[in-house]
């Protein structure tokens, strides 16, 4: 059962001589519950792909289907609802809200959805992320690793059907990396979440179900790890 489908996706930046084809006719799909790693050299279009999947960018052409819905056929409001209910996006550079503390950052998507955040789940999440002592800290008062963990918490907190991570462990040491990966795996199993994780770390890639290799915006290798 395909949960996430990409059809002839293209994304170009600029025009004429300076045109960059960040994604060039890319098609593949991910079934529900699969944890998929995306690797490839820098500038190969990984981040672009992830952003388009998350509904924060616009494809030049092609279609994205998530859970049977055409993502970019939605109007602005529905797209916003899609972003906060269906997707959890972990950015390479965290993108936290500087005026909100760790706890508030994590619960923001829920609050924006007009719901009360589950206190118990919040405690659990803070505990898992090792942020109990930092819950009242603003992003500017935290280290890069801590900020990264807050952004992961924010993505996981609503238990969305899709988790997208742009080098979520890029700023973490190996011990932390292992912990976070375990956390992602657990969430993946528990909520049957579909995950697409960009990484440079071979160990991280090896722990996923499938590894897709991109180069110049094209899929050049697609293998199952057999986990």
């Amino acid at each position: 059962m395909e949960f996430l489908t990409i059809e002839h996706l293209r994304k170009t930046y600029g025009k004429g001589e300076t045109e960059v084809r960040a994604i060039n006719d890319l098609s593949f799909s991910v079934p529900k519950g699969q944890m998929c790693a995306i690797i490839g050299p820098s500038g190969s279009g990984k981040s672009t792909l992830l952003h388009i999947l998350g509904g924060v960018d616009r494809p030049t052409s092609g279609k994205i289907w998530v859970d049977g819905e055409d993502v970019y056929a939605k109007n602005q409001k529905d797209l916003a609802v899609f972003r906060r209910r269906k997707v959890g996006l972990i950015y390479q550079f965290y993108n936290l809200i500087p005026v909100l503390n760790a706890e508030e950052n994590i619960t923001l998507p829920t609050v924006m959805d007009g719901r009360q955040p589950d206190k118990e789940r919040l405690e659990q999440m803070l505990d898992l992320l090792g942020l109990k002592k930092r819950r009242d800290h603003l992003p500017s008062q935290m280290s890069g690793g801590q900020q990264q963990r807050v952004s992961i918490g924010r993505a996981l907190f609503t238990s969305p059907a899709v988790i997208l991570g742009d080098e979520p462990t890029g700023n973490l040491d190996s011990k932390n990396t292992a912990e976070i990966l375990a956390l992602l795996r657990e969430s993946n199993k528990k909520f049957e979440q579909t995950m697409v994780i960009i990484t440079h770390d071979d160990d991280v890639a090896a722990q996923c179900d499938r590894i897709i290799t991109l180069s110049d915006g094209k899929l050049i290798k697609d293998e199952m790890t057999g986990l």
Binding site: K77, V81, Y91, I97, L108
Partner: protein, 760 residues
Amino acid sequence: MRFERTLGMRYVRAQKRHSVLTVCSIMIAVALITMICTVYTTYQGITRAAIYNEAPYHMLFEHITAEQAAEIGRLDEVESVETEPNENGTVKAMVLFCQYLDNEYIWAYNLQQKMDLDCLIKPYDPQTFDLIVNTKLLEADNLCLHGRAKLVQNLAILLVCLLFFVMALRMVIDTAFEISSKEREKQFGILQSLGAEPRQIVRILSTEGLILSVFGIPLGLLLGVLLSYLTYRLVLTTGIAQAFYSAGDIDKVISFHINPLLLGLSAAVGLVWVFFSAYGTGMRIIKKPPLEAITARAETVDKVSRFNPLAAFFGWKGKLASRNAKRNPKRFFVTVVSLTVSLTMFAALSSYMGIFKQSLLQSMQMDETTEEIIPYFTFALNDGGVLNEDNPPRFPELIKQMRDTGYFSRIENSNNQFVTITCADQSQHENVHLTYVNEDSYHSLLGDQQPFSYEELVKRGGGLLVNISEDEIPADAKTICFEEEYLSQISEAEYESKESDKESKIGFLTHNGETLYYERTPQDYEFPVCGRCMLDNSEDELNSEVSMIVMPEERWIGGDCYLFSNLQRDSYIAAFLKDETVYEPALQWLKAHSTDYLFDSENDAENPYRVYIKMQSTVSAINIGFTAMMIMIGLIAIVNMVNIISTGILNRKRELAAMQCVGMTRGQMYGMTVIECLQFTLWAAVAASVLTLLLLFLTTHLLNIVDLSEMKSKLFSWTEPLIKIWGGGIIAFLFAILASFLPLHQMQKEPLVEQIRNVE
């Protein structure tokens, strides 16, 4: 709603600089609208008070009974009735209304029907009519239809005046919101990527707007009222109140008025603009895909042109400066436009003011350059009917008496006779004035171009040729000869007997109600020539064109007065007052001797000194009001500029730090900023110059179409607005430098690593 409020409040608190500047923008915008409204209310209030002061009632019943007055007082629409007893037992009732009457005359008619007041139906006769309707007060209080129509008209004018400012102010508030930093846009991008809906983004911005308005609007109202009160006090120091009202009336009439309704309007306008701006900014932000806002690649340069004038002048610093302008063309454009608008408003308005003032002064007998008033009485002196040896000219004695009063600085007397001279080439020259002048007249006629003194003229026996060329009368001529007609008085019977004779040259004229009959007989004349001069006086066109033969008064008295006629002759006298203190006595003196004087009725109307003081104080009051407005315009420009520039600098914080990391010195950085400021002030000054000249040109053209021919020649000076614009440009430039140096200086306090760190 809760999280939007939290976020809005946190953003307001987190971005102090931005918040303060936005509050300032809102404050100034509201203050300016408040000021205009307060000026309007105060003007209206004073006008109303002046009307009330003159007649403190809406209707006055001169003769009604006390019972009738009491009955009128019981009517719903009547607020109060004040009575004063008359001698015949009736009362005088002054009625004030508190309700709208629609048509006051119909109301009075109905009242008459109801109460049997016979006074009201008599046909209008100022002697017997007993009802006085104070239409002006009814209008001022908006109690009659006409008053309402006037109110609508006044409000329309006020709105048109406001509209211009309201638009300009919209721009200020908009800029404050719109020119938010890249960092802010990024924030909204992230929120969107986390699933915030467009209306949630708009709500956050609206919350921010509301919080800022809570501070900005009351402060603006306060500042507006304060500034208008200050302006009002300053205006009063010009003595305008004393010029228009007597000491006793000033207290009753002159006061400062505030209309809560209009204050509410100002606040509402401010609030609406803030919400519009918040909404507009929100809409702009959500139009972009969130990623674009997050990565903020917007501020890059697409194309770089080879030739760069700034680079040619300032090297690499100039190059960087001009590219920085191009990376956010919108911001550059807004900066230039807002400065251009301010400079143009400043220059064009002061040019218009100049013209307005000039025409005010021109309408007075006032020297434009010294703004000094020289009033004078012009009148014709009837020199006593038929002049002959029994009845010699009397004016010398009267002028002597006038001089002896000491009221006059100058008494000009001249007697004119049109003559036709024959030129050297035998052609005839029309319209030569044979002018007999006294010393004062001689000076005012020839000014500093007189070839010799008046005494010399008397000594030589007269005959100074003015504006008569050698073609007309040769240089060596000792005398001029011409033929003129002599008017001799004849009796009525003689006139009637000769009336049928077509050959005879008879006529009559009336003088002082008396008909004088005369007969013309041709006669030859010979006059001496003692000198000549050509007047070259472009200022006084009249004198420079008219050909004259100037004779001393002494010759007139000595017998020339009998030359052309023995009919009555009028001397034209212009008596210039010594100073303002003698105005009344001089007038009285002249009136007392009025059997011989015909007053120029125009100048008899009002003491020109009082008119002058009214004009003067009006002009100064306008000057003060104008200055206050200019200060506001300046404030707007400054707030806008500081806002835009400092944001521009702070947005590039990391980049500037990076440049310093690769070896840019602080001096070089400041230098680059100065060039950036220079760049847009230059653009703005050029644009404002073109715009202002265009405006003035169009105005001149328009005025020419409606034909103000006298003013045409000296309408606008073209250099003055340019000087103002470039002067204003330099001030703007200095403020721009200040606006960029302050944030730079603030930044320098942090270590470079801090500056270069991802600012979150």
